[in-house]
């Protein structure tokens, strides 16, 4: 099984290393091939793991008796990695249709090899982060994903995108200092870089270590007060935004938080309190910021911020001893990835075919572009948590766990009530836009849309299916 894990880390990196040397014509095919291989590894690992379900850790790089990197294979890493490589492959396929001169919003004539090189490096390092059994590994891949997203956000190279890319890397790098300190501190206290060494710390030591981890996680997951890079990052090519929001970058933060909480044994309750309060504050902020947005991608960016808060809330609540909350958080990481990936790719498909992302100009999508319209409906329903779409199940788990804990902890009760209100509010707001954009007779821009390429339609269809079934996959593994 270690080989499958290494396959999903290294194969995309190999593909990425090859990409700059290939002619533009074949680079798309080769990259799809390598990302598909990575997906295959992820799938095989998922199947192999389902058979015996025993987690283990394998050390890979040991110098002078100190382990620097190893892979942990357990439910959390196998599930999240499957999501990372699956969406990675879908994005590579989608990009083949999106990154060309026929793009009406932003015709792309050069830089395709660079795009694929970085994208695959991104997939590989994300996978490396997910499997890492050491804090040092988490830190290294944390920084590499930062570098990848920096160069991808700045892909178009104009003034605005360069500036947005700088915001992304500088803010997340500053946040990473928290992880630097935690890693150094844990190493000095226990003599080990292993994530599970967190469990050997004293109560105060754990609080210090987790504050560092939280700062790093907040920065990467765009939570208050380190959120401002994410809405700016919307200048990136849409497949990049989709990957940033769905499977990587923002998920890095919450994944690190989940991984460390899982390995640290009992975590001081104060960390749960800080995490939960900040999560709900961010959630409310993200929700309030929905209202002024007219750019579809910016609306989605704030929605991502709010959805990540759900995950932070869930993991924070698991500190109180609730297994349900933890599982809900993991399920939400998984489900949200497909829903948000779909939503962004719908936005990308609209931009490709109509040349605009302005919500107020889009009307009657379903009529003119049925696959895109269906994708919009599925994504909106899944994000806002309407059954039978996947978002409902994980949100329900989180809120249920919240009320259970809330019986003994008034603070959590208040936070969960706010969460419920937020979820109803965002349901209404996103449904409002859905009604306007999807239904009715096509507006001028939609009526004059070109047909989306086959690759785009294929990916949207797969993702629509996933928003309907991904929750069952999670239940299978978490039960």
């Amino acid at each position: 099984m270690v080989w499958y894990a290494l396959g999903s880390i290294l194969l995309p990196m190999v593909g990425g290393a090859l990409a700059p040397f290939l002619p533009e014509r074949s680079v798309k095919k080769v990259s799809q091939f390598f990302s598909f291989l990575a997906f295959l590894c992820g799938l095989l690992l998922l199947v192999a793991f389902a058979a015996n379900r025993t987690g283990f850790t394998q050390n890979l790089l040991t110098i002078s008796g100190i382990n620097f990197y190893g892979v942990t294979i357990d439910t959390l890493s196998v599930l999240v990695n499957f999501m990372v490589v699956f969406i990675g492959w879908l994005i590579c396929t989608y990009s083949a249709g999106y990154m060309n001169a026929g793009n009406r919003e932003h015709p792309i004539t050069e830089g395709v090899p660079r795009f694929y090189a970085l994208m695959q490096l991104f997939i590989g390092s994300m996978s490396g982060l997910v499997f890492s059994s050491t804090l040092l590994g988490l830190l290294v891949f944390f920084e590499i994903t930062g570098l990848c997203s920096w160069s991808l956000i700045g892909f178009y190279g104009d003034q605005q995108s360069r500036k947005s890319a700088l915001w992304a890397i500088i803010l997340t790098h500053c946040a990473a200092l928290g992880l630097y300190l935690t890693t150094a501190y844990v190493f000095l206290s226990t003599g080990s870089f292993s994530v599970s060494a967190l469990g050997q710390l004293t109560e105060t030591g754990k609080i210090l270590a987790f504050v560092g981890i939280l700062i790093a996680s907040w920065g990467k997951s765009a939570q208050l007060p380190l959120h401002s890079w994410l809405p700016r990052a919307m200048v990136a090519p849409t497949p990049v935004s989709a990957y940033l929001h769905a499977a990587s970058m923002v998920k890095v933060g919450v994944y690190i938080f989940a991984r460390t909480v899982l390995e640290a044994g009992t975590v001081p309750q104060v960390i749960g309190e800080i995490g939960a309060v900040m999560a709900v504050v961010t959630m409310v902020y993200g929700f309030v910021m929905y209202f002024p947005q007219d750019d579809m991608k910016r609306l989605l960016a704030y929605s991502t911020i709010a959805q990540l808060s759900y995950m932070f809330l869930a993991i924070s609540m698991s500190v109180y001893g609730s297994k349900l909350a933890f599982n809900g958080g993991v399920a939400h990481i998984f489900n949200h990835a497909f829903a948000k990936g779909l939503f962004f790719l719908v936005a990308g498909a609209l931009a490709y075919t109509t040349g605009t992302r302005r919500l107020s100009m889009l009307r009657g999508i379903l009529n003119k572009l049925p696959v895109v319209g269906l994708g919009y409906i599925a994504a909106a329903m899944a994000i806002t948590g309407v059954p039978p779409f996947n978002g409902f199940f994980s949100k329900f788990m989180i809120i249920l766990a919240g009320f259970e804990i809330g019986r003994y902890h008034p603070l959590i009760l208040v936070l969960v009530i706010v969460t419920v209100i937020e979820s109803v509010g965002s349901f209404i707001w996103i449904l409002k836009w859905m009604g306007t954009n999807v239904l009715g007779t096509p507006s001028d821009v939609v009526a004059s849309a070109v047909a989306p390429p086959l690759a785009i339609k294929f990916v949207l269809t797969v993702l629509i299916l996933m928003t309907l079934i991904s929750q069952y996959l999670v239940f299978l593994f978490l039960s």
Partner: protein, 495 residues
């Protein structure tokens, strides 16, 4: 093989000296190139042999102990040999380009190679000398050897840079001479043997008996003196001028190797001081100077416009990090500092060489005018980006490893505030360098600039340096690890 073990100490300085003399006498460019290539190859080979010998447990001494080799020597010689070879190889393509564009005359090419080897000779001498007076003289001689390289272009600015370099370093090194004499007289009063009182190996052995007050004074002088040469704040002011005015491969050698020669001289005295006056005094001094150096350099990196000056300030910053590592002390701190010297050498050579190609292409060093490198010279741009990301301290490259170790060492020594300051300074550097990439590599190039790399001959060393840089970021080979561990025990007195 016993014979080779000791003779190598004669061969090491003889090769570059002989090559230099030969090169000065040659008129033809082609012949000079061949001689130069042979010289750097043999030197690299010899340094590798020495490393192998030292790893095998040999400690060659010659001329009554005047010259010797231990693990510290081996590390420094490894840098001189290997980095000197790669920069030397790059020089060939670089000088051909300069000749083709009329920047230099054909006759001067042989002078360049001559001085290049003279410079190597003085550095080798400083690396293998056991006699502290010769050590001082050799470091002083590196100034003279390299000053001609700094002033090589005969521009007004390069002459000024060279002048400032010679002047400031000579003044600085005068302090080091006081330090050397103080140490000598201190030791002489103990052993009454003029020869022994000069030998570093003897000094280390008798260090616990030396007069602490006098050694404190001596260490301060040494730190100021060799610190000037190494580029420690506040005596670093010559460095950006000299390093930016020299031809790029010479800049690479200055930043990549020469600074380490002076730094290793400090390490030699650090080892004596640790035992003579205790840990507190030398470590506190190094920590303070190290942090100040990093801090001041960080802001200068941010505001400079000249890319080579930016790189020069970045070298100052990294010397600061190495000093901080020594200041943190302990096996971890010293190990981190030594590993950092290697990592920085490799990376900074790559950066100065790529900066050379960029300057050749754009005809300017002004970061405001260099745009769209990624489209004009993609390979060089990639190497430049990777190098900058590395010196900014980002994984997966080598500098991250030693910087992280330094941070951990500072934390272990209990200096929480210095560590926080160090982190903040490093963030400033990170921002400055990422900004530089964002401005120069991305964006759209000038319309009239033809696309394509300058010179394919210059790209090969880039590839090799890049492999070192990436490889050392992921893995530390066992022989290197052993060498570093050995050097740590030389410094801390475990052997």
């Amino acid at each position: 093989m016993i014979g080779m073990g000791e003779n190598i100490l004669y061969a090491l300085p003889a090769v570059p000296l002989g090559t230099a003399l030969l090169a000065f006498g040659i008129r033809s460019r082609r012949v000079a190139e061949v001689v130069h290539l042979a010289g750097i190859s043999i030197l690299a080979l010899l340094s590798l042999i020495l490393v192998r010998d030292v790893l095998g447990g040999q400690r060659p001494f010659v001329l009554d102990g005047m010259f010797f080799a231990d693990e510290l020597t081996a590390i420094l010689l490894l840098l001189i040999g290997v980095v000197g070879f790669l920069n030397g190889f790059y020089s060939i393509g670089y000088m051909r380009h300069d000749l083709a564009h009329g920047e230099v005359k054909e006759r001067n090419i042989s002078f360049y190679y001559g001085f290049y080897h003279l410079f190597l000779f003085t550095m080798v001498l400083s690396a293998i000398s056991n006699n502290v007076a010769i050590l001082w003289a050799a470091v002083e001689a590196t100034t003279l050897g390299s000053a001609f390289l700094v002033g090589f272009y005969h521009h007004k600015t390069s002459a000024e840079g060279a002048w400032k370099y010679v002047l400031l370093c000579s003044i600085g090194l005068a302090f080091a001479l006081y330090g050397t004499i103080l140490t000598y007289s201190n030791a002489f009063s103990m052993v009454q043997d003029a020869h022994k009182a000069m030998l570093w190996t003897e000094l280390v052995n008798m260090a616990p008996h030396l007069d602490p007050q006098m050694m404190k004074l001596a260490f301060v002088f040494i730190l100021i003196g060799f610190g000037t040469k190494a580029g420690l704040f506040p005596m670093h002011t010559w460095l950006p001028d000299a390093h930016s005015e020299a031809p790029s491969p010479a800049s690479a050698l200055l930043s990549g190797v020469l600074l380490k020669c002076a730094f290793f001289a400090i390490i030699r005295y650090y080892a004596i001081a640790l035992q003579a006056v205790g840990k507190g005094f030398p470590q506190t001094l190094l920590l303070i100077f190290g942090l100040l150096t990093v801090g001041v350099a960080a802001f200068f990196i941010l505001v400079q416009n000249d890319i080579k000056r930016k790189l020069a300030y970045s070298s100052v910053e990294h010397i600061g990090i190495m000093a901080t590592g020594l200041g943190a002390g302990g096996a971890l701190g010293v190990f981190a500092a030594l590993l950092h010297t290697i990592n920085h050498s490799v990376t900074k050579s790559l950066l100065f060489c790529t900066a050379g190609n960029i300057t050749m292409k754009y005809g300017t060093r002004d970061a405001q005018k260099i745009r769209g490198m990624g489209k004009v010279i993609p390979f060089t741009a990639f190497m430049f980006t990777a190098g900058l990301v590395t010196v900014a301290g980002s994984p997966p490259f080598n500098v991250f490893v030693s910087e992280f170790m330094t941070l951990t060492a500072v934390l272990r020594s209990g200096h929480v505030w210095p560590m926080i300051f160090l982190l903040l300074f490093l963030v400033i550097v990170f921002v400055a360098l990422i900004l530089l990439i964002s401005e120069t590599v991305l964006g759209s190039p000038p319309e009239d600039l033809p696309r394509g790399e300058v010179n394919w001959l210059t790209l090969l060393p880039f590839g090799i340096l890049f492999l070192f840089m990436a490889g050392l970021g992921i893995y530390l080979p066992a022989p290197l690890n052993q060498l570093l561990q050995g050097a740590v025990s030389v410094v801390l007195g475990g052997k």
